[in-house]
Symmetry: C2
């Protein structure tokens, strides 16, 4: 049984608590957060609002804001336990004062209210020592079938790629929802097109699938589209159209 | 049996030929294109390179470039047949000289080599006369379970929304693929995140699902991301991040 401590009370932390409490091979021995009460009901794990010195666990995961990682590591300086942060764009060196440090980065967008299937979530790990990498890999493999040991630079690149594929696409879908809503049309009309868009990208180069007025420089259609957009959405439209045009015509 | 003529040889036309030849309730009586030979093998339909006067069909679909619709309508001026164009952002008035005009707009991104499931494709129709709208609705219902009578302005809004959801998201997925490729990582690592992103948007407001550094104005992470991007991708990153920030913080 792998004994784990967890620091943090955000979206990822809440999902990790659930995953670690549910997994047969792991025991969540303590959960530490700044909130006075744990942000989850029916908790089987002791909850603390203060760091414990000499955490009695095999591994301590810290799932907190990026800019709090270094100061939290300072608090754990006397601990012998392996400490791993869970951030995509933070160097393992932010844990510098610690003897044993690692990264345990699950590549998913976590919202408290939306359940996730951990078995499919890619977990990217990194550690300074081989033994610690093995420990992280063992934990990751208990939760997911999709585990990758990658370097810090690869992780940053992956995190950046995820911003384009998740954050930015999600925002554009939101713009799209606003337009259909204004048109008094159900967003479900776009569902088959959207599903096709991303499913096709899993087995093709997306650039080779590109269609639309921007690719073929159809300025007449673009003018019509701009006429139904707010100034801010029109600005997005112009920049994205230009980027598509440049990709296919230079 | 509904007798249909089709003008055009592009991606949509090729998919329409297949759908209309396969459907039990329709007969494709002629296919007209500018190419000397039909761009499809094993064709059961007579292929012509010249317009026929008095087309002997219940309906003539024109699936050609937007800017060729008006001049093609001029060619068909003596015909009594209902003529429908298939474009999202073209007014029915482009068919002005014709007695019976309509729109038959299938909302999907068509690529010649990628098969589609017509039964799920939304087909948006419009006609000047009620009888003609019924005829178009009858045809659309033979191909798809997802048929909508919408106005010209709704169709333009829908087409614009589709550009955001399909053209722009596809482009950003392409950028994302380039980043993972540069990182020597398989793009499949992003697959669960991408599927989650889009599937969640079908039952939620995408803006309510937004996460990431742009929403929380995490400029440190944004600087790290910018450091791995080309100048052109960095420009996209900045504009999209600004739009996300504005959406959630103004």
């Amino acid at each position: 049984m792998m004994r784990i401590a967890l620091i943090g009370t955000g979206n990822l932390a809440i999902h990790l608590v659930h995953a670690l409490e549910t997994c047969n091979a792991t025991q969540l021995v303590q959960w530490i957060g700044r909130k006075n009460t744990p942000p989850r009901q029916n908790l089987n794990t002791p909850y603390f609002t203060q760091y414990q010195q000499n955490i009695d666990a095999d591994l301590c995961l810290i799932a907190i804001a990026d800019d709090a990682i270094a100061s939290t590591a300072e608090q754990l300086i006397n601990s012998d336990v392996l400490v791993a942060h869970t951030a995509g764009a933070v160097s393992i060196d932010e844990l510098k004062p610690l003897k044993r440090k690692g990264v345990f980065y699950p590549l998913q967008s976590f919202k408290e209210t939306i359940s996730v299937d951990w078995s499919t979530i890619p977990i990217c790990i990194e550690a300074t020592h081989t033994d610690d990498a093995e420990l992280l890999e063992k934990l990751a493999s208990q939760l997911s079938k999709n585990v990758h040991q990658i370097s810090e630079h690869q992780r940053l690149q992956l995190h950046t790629a995820a911003v384009f594929a998740n954050n930015f696409c999600n925002h554009l879908i939101g713009v799209s929802q606003n337009i259909t809503s204004k048109a008094a049309l159900p967003f479900s009309v776009l569902q088959p097109l959207i599903r096709e868009t991303f499913e096709r990208s899993f087995s093709n180069k997306a650039f080779a699938l590109q269609t639309g007025p921007a690719k073929r420089n159809d300025t007449l259609t673009q003018q019509k589209h701009l006429s139904v957009l707010s100034e801010e959405d029109a600005e997005l439209y112009r920049i994205l159209s230009q980027s598509i045009f440049n990709t296919h015509n230079t």
